[in-house]
């Protein structure tokens, strides 16, 4: 029995001393391998008498299981230590920059049109479109702007050389020709918005030869100016996300509407800075009015039965006001720094569920 105790002592010491998995495996072989000390001791049992064999057998088996457990425990410790050491060796500088990815962006004009569309969609409008190259009949005459009308001169029109049936080709000066196409092709009720490119030959600090408008047209039997007011006040307050935004309707003149109104929103102008909201000043943002009966008749709509309203506004202007963009011309310069600064993330889709804008 002293031998067994000594063996236990030696092995336990050897296990503790093994500082690598390989060394530990050497101890395991020396104890439990084919020629290992414990294996040898087991083999020695056969030569004993049955009485001694039972007693010695129990002792050796106990030792075997004790040593096995000790080896396993030591093995677990050594594995953990070895993994820890490897991981420490794999350490990197996490302050290195992530692999570069380029983020794209949505142009403010697209974003603002999407925002406007989301609002007007709630009010039952659908989006209509028309060509950029128009005929003067659609752009002017049908809209009650006859050739010699002073308003026609104010539009600074770009002309193209062609004509169709005596109607000159031009770049539309507003999105209003789409009203005419729609009224010619659609029976009332009509409820459309028309975003699109428009052109005027004017280029200075506040004018670009191309800009965007969004137009609205409602034609029905009983639509009146109260609806116009309701529709546009709802629009302005939602667009600028201000429930108490003051909105003012002021008489004005457009050949294609009668009565006509310009729409102002409240603001404060102080030290060259403009702030939208209740204040002591007004800012014009929209033109509107009841569709002139002559325009309805020009499109073949019975003006004794149908009436409606129309409105139009500059998309860039709204974008500039809402997002504080200072210069109109920069919208079209495609300067990457500008586009990334004023642009929107692709997943920022405006809607009435998640909100118009962040």
């Amino acid at each position: 029995m002293d031998d067994i105790d000594k063996l236990r002592g030696d092995l336990t010491q050897a296990i503790a001393a093994a500082d690598t998995l390989d060394a530990l495996d050497g101890v395991r072989v020396s104890a439990l391998g084919k020629k290992g000390a414990i294996t040898q001791a087991m083999k020695g049992l056969g030569a004993m008498d049955p009485e001694d064999r039972r007693e010695a057998g129990q002792t050796i088996n106990a030792l075997k299981s004790e040593i096995s457990d000790a080896i396993e425990a030591r093995k677990a410790d050594l594995s953990t230590a070895e993994l820890d050491a490897r991981l420490m060796a794999e350490k990197v500088d996490v302050s290195l920059p992530a692999r570069p990815e380029t983020e794209g962006s949505i142009h403010p004009i697209s974003q603002v049109i999407d925002e406007m569309t989301a609002i007007f969609c709630e009010m039952g409008f659908t989006v209509a479109e028309g060509p950029d190259i128009e005929e003067d009949w659609y752009n002017f005459t049908a809209l009650n702007i006859p050739p010699e009308h002073p308003a026609r001169q104010e539009h600074d029109t770009f002309y193209l050389p062609g004509e169709t049936d005596g109607h000159r080709k031009l770049l539309r000066t507003h999105t209003s020709p789409v009203q005419i196409h729609t009224m010619q092709d659609t029976k009332p009720p009509i409820r459309i918005i028309v975003p699109g490119r428009t052109y005027r030959c004017d280029y200075d600090a506040t004018h670009s030869p191309m800009f965007h408008q969004i137009e609205g047209l409602v034609v029905d039997e009983t639509i009146n100016m109260g609806h116009l007011k309701g529709c546009l006040i709802d629009f302005c307050r939602t667009m600028f996300d201000m429930d108490d935004l003051p909105v003012r309707f002021r008489p004005s003149y457009f050949p294609f509407t009668e009565p006509s109104a310009e729409v102002d929103i409240g603001c404060t102008k102080k030290d060259g800075e403009l702030r939208i909201g209740a204040g002591d000043d007004w800012l014009e943002i929209l033109g509107s009015g009841m569709v002139n009966p002559r325009v309805l008749e020009n499109c073949g709509i019975d003006s004794t039965k149908y009436q409606g309203f129309a409105f139009g506004m500059g998309v860039e202007r709204i974008a500039m006001l809402k997002y504080g963009i200072p210069d109109l011309r920069t919208f079209f310069e495609s300067d990457l720094r500008w586009l990334r600064h004023y642009g929107f993330k692709s997943l920022e889709v405006p809607g009435m569920v998640g909100g118009l804008s962040r």
Partner: protein, 801 residues
């Protein structure tokens, strides 16, 4: 249109403040551009008298003036050469701020002499650039009075934007009438009683027109006034004109300007002694020349109306008078013209001659056809008052027809169209004050339109008049009635698709740009455009003269500009129109994009590479996929357009004719012509060519298949001729077993080495997907040999051993 508050109040009896009047004008549709209170900052300056002026003891150019300010006598050191004893000037006391210099005045010693204040020049007062001397006030200016009063600066100037329909408000009185209708005051009566003539006008007037031009001038009234003294205008008149930015010239001329601004009644005054015979309105002769009052000579044509004497044209009707018969300070006898010219012809003449004037501006908007004679009488009285002389009887060539226009008006339309209830009595009051007389019943009226309101043509116009004066602020705010319980989608399927493509491309790292629809012709030509029918007749500049055949040149130019600013990579896209002819069908919506320079930033992990055709292809495919196109069915065709690298570009088609997209590296020659450094990889997706979104047949999807067995992968490398396309190898491999083979992917392309000239190796990995049981080795072997056979047969290649 500029007026002054005082001028307005000569016609409007009101106690309202400037602010209230401006607010009301705005709410009447007379939009206030600006209110200029010229006396701001000048209130403290007073009229002072220079009692004595002695030379400064210690400076050659300075004087020491003894100045009586009305409240004290002080010494002022002054450098103005015109400062002298006995004059009156404008005095600024120590402590006041000088607007022209921004300096706050302090009591100071100037070369040893104490100066207590300052005598001001116009520049120092901020009135003009005049600084040759100090302001000299008239001798009767009351000592100590506010200088702004004496200078006529205490009357605020109101600048109003008059809409083109309101010609009647291009006169102070018209504005007063609108304000009166709104109830903020009452319109004062106007004295236009005829001046009794004391002789017959030696100059007669005639209208000489053929039947085609009879409308050119429909009424003409004249009068001779003899023995006038064309003096400098009195101060009240000069001040009025100066306030609104007109330069006083002489009393006769200034009176016509006054009539234009005050009564919207442009007149012309001829020096009667320079007129040869009678005055007649006629059409000009082609090539007839006239030296106008602006000192320029104009060549006229036979569609322009002139006022002529018996020999030559003396004035361009309704636009500008002529130099030869103009009034000067020597004028003694004057002939006054008050006429009615055709608005359209006047506008056309002015446009053709590129000549704007206050008269033209009013005639082309239409002036009061009943105010020729009243205007003449008011002007006559002014001339007699200021210049003396005696007036002839008036001579009349033609009077306008007295029939006034009538409009049917149902008061109920106010509520129906404007949505607001206005009491009948209030409607009638508004119409009355505006000059509209009414006949008929309370439900159906016939309204006579006053002669000064040629903009009123229908019932809706009258509704506007009533509502405008009643106040737009009283209109109700009515929510839009619902067309259906829940709104329909606002976007059509095509519009939705465009929006999806936009956000997909931005999600791929491309930045959206919006560029102009026109570009330089030479760039248009490079991209297949430049047709004459798409060239602007009147471009903003010669380099923006052609409608774009594609957005690509604009994006490439932008990349060039960005590179010039140090950004050598420009991942840009645009969704917008492009034009192949001038018809609606020639306009197409396209998504175009570019990547330039390197694939990304230089970084520690992975070196960037130059962008290439496959970047563009991936973008094009992503756009098409976002648009819902079945990209697996697309054919890739190695055909190109001239603006692409011929060997590194291609088309994506659905069917042999339907071109959906182009992609590739931009031709280096094109880049060189645009002076942009390459490489640039570009794509164009023609959104209008995409198959129409299908009408919805329910939203149910095909059931998903989730095989229970592991897919098996096998790799093959084939040696094929270089001309064999990868897609041919893929298609052949796919065809070997249509049920088992789910995917074929090229994972290596290699040429050269021991393959031999004209050969390349294409390595593909094939994915087999068993459906009902695990594949045996024999089955896999069988499929593999089918794949090899199929590829070898289709491509003439061999399995690389």
């Amino acid at each position: 249109m500029k007026i002054t508050l005082g001028w307005l109040k000569e016609h409007l009896d009101t106690d309202a403040t400037l602010d209230a009047l401006c607010e009301r004008m705005t709410m009447l549709g007379l939009e206030i551009e600006e209110v200029i209170e010229r006396s701001k900052g000048l209130e403290g300056f007073v009229v002072a008298s220079v009692l004595g002026a002695e030379k400064h003891p210690d400076a050659d150019k300075l004087q020491v003036c003894t100045v009586d300010t009305g409240s004290e006598t002080v010494e002022v050191v002054c450098g103005a050469p015109n400062a002298r004893a006995g004059m009156k000037g404008v005095f600024a006391a120590s402590g006041s701020s000088i607007p022209g210099t921004g300096i706050k005045l302090k009591k100071a010693k100037i070369r040893g002499v104490e100066s207590n204040g300052m005598l001001l020049s116009e520049r120092e007062m901020g009135l003009s650039d005049e600084h040759d001397g100090i302001i000299e006030l008239s001798d009767d200016a009351p000592l100590g009075a506010p200088a702004v009063e004496v200078l006529g600066l205490d009357d605020p100037v109101i600048d109003i934007a008059i809409t083109p329909n309101r010609g009647d408000c291009l006169g102070v009185r018209g504005i007063a009438r609108d304000l009166a209708a709104s109830g903020i005051g009452t319109l004062k009566p106007l004295d236009a009683t005829p001046v009794k003539g004391s002789f017959e006008s030696p100059i007669k007037v005639h209208l000489d027109f053929d039947a085609d031009h009879i409308d050119a001038c429909t009424a003409f009234v004249g009068r001779t006034i003899r023995g006038v003294n064309n003096v400098e205008s009195p101060k009240w008149l000069a001040d009025k004109l100066l306030a609104i930015g007109l330069r006083p010239i002489s009393a006769l001329v200034d009176i016509t300007n006054l009539m234009t601004i005050e009564h919207c009644r442009p007149l012309h005054v001829f020096d009667a002694d320079k007129v040869n015979g009678d005055i007649r309105a006629r059409m000009a002769k082609d090539g007839e020349k006239l030296l106008a009052l602006d000192g320029k000579e104009y060549e006229l044509d036979s569609e322009m109306t002139v006022i002529a004497d018996d020999t030559v044209a003396e004035a361009m009707a309704g636009v500008m008078g002529g130099e030869a018969s103009g009034c000067t300070e020597d004028t003694v006898n004057v002939f006054v013209e008050s006429a009615l010219f055709d608005p359209i012809r006047t506008a056309a003449t002015g446009r053709k001659l590129n000549l704007q004037s206050d008269a033209r501006f009013r005639f082309e908007r239409g002036i009061d056809s009943a105010f020729l004679e009243p205007g003449m009488e008011i002007a006559t009285r002014l001339i007699l008052d200021i210049c003396g002389g005696e007036a002839s009887d008036i001579v009349v060539a033609e009077s306008p027809s007295p029939d006034s226009q009538t409009v049917d008006f149902r008061p109920a339309r106010v509520k129906e169209l404007a949505g607001v209830e206005v009491e009948l009595a209030e409607m009638k009051r508004i119409l009355d004050v505006l000059g509209f007389t009414q006949d008929g019943t309370d439900t159906q009226m016939t309204v006579s339109v006053p002669t000064w309101r040629n903009d009123i043509v229908g019932e809706a116009c009258l509704v506007e008049e009533v509502v405008r004066v009643h106040g737009y602020d009283k209109l109700p705010m009515t929510p839009m009635p619902r067309l259906s319980d829940l709104p329909e989608p606002a976007l059509s399927p095509e519009q939705r698709r465009r929006s999806d493509v936009r956000r997909a491309l931005a999600g791929r790292g491309l930045t959206e740009a919006v560029t102009l629809s026109f570009l330089p012709s030479d760039q248009a030509v490079l991209f297949g455009g430049g047709a004459d029918e798409l060239k602007l007749v009147n471009p903003i500049s010669s380099d923006l003269d052609s409608m774009r055949p594609s957005a690509l040149p604009n994006l490439i130019a932008a990349a060039g500009r960005n590179a010039d600013k140090g950004m050598d990579s420009s991942p840009l896209f645009e969704i917008g129109p492009q034009f192949s002819d001038d018809t609606p069908a020639g306009q197409m919506m396209a998504a175009c994009g570019i990547r330039s320079g390197k694939s990304g930033r230089r970084n520690w992990s992975m070196p960037p590479r130059p962008v290439d055709v496959f970047d563009a292809k991936a973008d094009a495919l992503a756009a098409l996929s976002a648009a819902g196109v079945p990209v697996e069915k697309l054919q890739v065709v190695a055909e190109s357009a001239p603006w692409y690298h011929p060997g590194r570009s291609g088309c994506l088609q659905l069917g042999p004719k339907n071109l959906l997209a182009r992609f590739g590296e931009v031709h280096p020659g094109v880049l060189a012509k645009m002076d942009v450094d390459g490489p640039v990889a570009a794509f164009e997706v023609y959104l209008d060519n995409l198959p129409k979104p299908k009408a919805k047949k329910g939203s149910t999807r095909k059931l998903v298949e989730l095989p229970a067995f592991h897919p098996v992968g096998r790799d093959f490398a084939f040696v094929v001729d270089e001309a064999i396309s990868a897609s041919a190898v893929i298609a052949a491999a796919m065809s070997a077993d249509k049920t088992l083979i789910r995917d074929v992917n090229v994972f290596d392309v290699f040429a050269g080495g021991n393959l031999g000239d004209g050969k390349k190796s294409l390595a593909v990995s094939v994915t087999l997907q068993p459906t009902d049981q695990t594949l045996t080795d024999a089955e896999i072997e069988a499929v593999s040999s089918n794949i090899v056979a199929a590829v070898e047969k289709a491509t003439g290649g061999t399995l690389r051993s």
